[in-house]
Amino acid sequence: MSMALLVDFGSTWTKVRAVDLEAARVVASAQGPSTVGSDITVGLEQALAALHATLGEVPRYRYRLGSSSAAGGLKMVTIGLVRELTAEAARQAALGAGARLVGCYAYRLTRADLREIEARQPDIVLLCGGTDGGNREIILYNAGMLAGSGLSCPVVVAGNRDVGDEVLERLPGARLCANVMPEFNVLATDPARALIREVFMSRIVQAKGIDRARGLLDDVVLPTPAAVLEGAELLAAGPGGEGGLGPLIVVDPGGATTDVHSIGEGEPAAGVVRLGLPEPHAKRTVEGDLGMRHNAASIVDSCGAEAIAADAGVPVARLHRLLASIAADVERLPADADEAALERGLARAAIRLAMRRHAGTVETVQTAHGPVQVQRGKDLGRVATLIGTGGVLVHAARPEVLLGAALAQPGDPFSLAPAAATLFIDRDYALFASGLLARADRRVAFELARNGLVPLEKAHHDKHANA
């Protein structure tokens, strides 16, 4: 049996998957603690021991690949010119590369900005600004500011190509790639994504001590969120660019953030005008205020305690007590049926809001020619495949009840969330493994992701769907 070993170095767990390459299935899963703070191999050894105990042997792996979100993930700061244009394109590029954004800046950097950036200790800074042939002053100014700062991290430059050489003169050692916005309103984030990943592999993995695992693995190739996004892209496109599932959405509600990935153009329906910056084909959003554990209180701030308690069918006072106990101990598990219902309510609220922020909107603008429908962002209304991944969903008794919250809500007619998608759960966490394996064998990686999908029963948005 030909096997692959795929490892995710997370912030809490080191997760390992053994994949049978002929069957393209996960045949064993295990996990160990995350020990990146001391010696990353300790947690990996433990996880591997558990995995090999399950398998009953130590296979000779054909591929051994890892991804990492340990040690704070890939922390990035992005800098652009106009907030809605190159600064937004820079943000999209970093998110698409699997980064955790710790700061996004537009226009000229101030000294206060620099102090803030230094304090946030990014792993990589992405410096953009100006279309090709466009504004030159700001990116040069900001390059000068970065050169005079105390930052020592790698800088990736993806701005106005006319001044690339001058930027490098100011920032020796920076890496240059094609502009994230070569022309006005044209988004071209792939070159920057690729270069960020390369810098991650060549420098960040070492800086974080993850490279110690290289004795046990062939390589650590991607930040984990990038592996999930690559798995989703492959699943949508198919191994040779055809035979895939078509446009799809992946929702990952986690302890600290809720991530949403959508693959597809999100083209407007007939007769609808699309405005604003185009969005990436593979779009990733990270909601830093929507986390089941570390940000439970801010889910309630955003969605309302009354609404969440009503959704769970539990008195609101009980919700406040639960929040207090989660704040005191984020590892705490639900103590009774009411708390379990409230946790489901929190997850549903986080998923609903994360999807609403990710999806585009449509509004009616009155013109002299009568009403015109205007779309901003992606129309995901006709996306047929909605996939849930991550521990919160995998361990839920009825994941369809949680994931169903991502579907379009009757009370929010302006959102372009999916209307009637089929729900799946990525039961074995095969998407990240697929994204990693895609580098070695796209066909097997595609089959692995598809085989990992378990269809869920159609969820309803009844008020007490939780009950």
């Binding site: 010119l81 809605e84 466009g134 013109t367």
Partner: protein
């Protein structure tokens, strides 16, 4: 012409794109780099596009008679974004009803537009005016946009 960047678009809740598209094509053919924003463009988007692309001029179209409302504060917007000196042109059916063009023109020039063009303006005239205005700037002259004083002194803003 070479190297000059122009931003074009139809301002406000206005969907009349045909004339603006013809203008954009003609400008491109004349050698300008054209950033065409198309219909339904808010004033702020013209300015943001001009900042990012380091545009030399903004060409605003308005065809549905609401131009006066949509264009109010356009120059202020540019000044706010650091584009104090950018050339701004406006053309189309700028107002509702039959009003004498001289008055209409005056109104928009007072708003800070460098040029305003009435309905039926020929493309060649726009190209000629644009070339002359750019040439005048190259020569270091401030433009006289049909009024006795250039825009800045009309607004009481000192020029550097």
């Amino acid at each position: 012409m070479q190297g000059r960047t122009l931003v074009t678009g139809v301002i406000g809740a206005d969907t009349h794109i045909v004339g603006n598209r013809i203008l954009s094509m003609a400008l491109e053919k004349a050698g300008y780099r054209v950033v065409a924003l198309g219909a339904l463009t808010p004033a702020a988007d013209f300015v943001k596009a001009a900042v990012e692309t380091a545009a030399d001029a903004i060409m605003v179209s308005s065809l549905y008679g609401q131009g006066e409302i949509d264009c109010r504060g356009f120059r202020d917007h540019c000044v706010e974004a650091g584009l104090d000196d950018i050339l701004i042109y406006l053309g189309g059916n700028l107002v509702v009803g039959k009003q004498p063009w001289a008055e209409v023109e005056q109104r928009f020039l007072a708003m800070g537009f460098d040029r305003a063009f009435p309905p039926g303006t020929r493309i060649e005239d726009v190209l000629g005016t644009l070339a002359a205005d750019f040439a005048a700037r190259e020569g270091g002259e401030r433009m006289d946009a049909g009024l006795a004083t250039p825009w800045a002194s009309r607004q009481g803003v000192p020029r550097p």
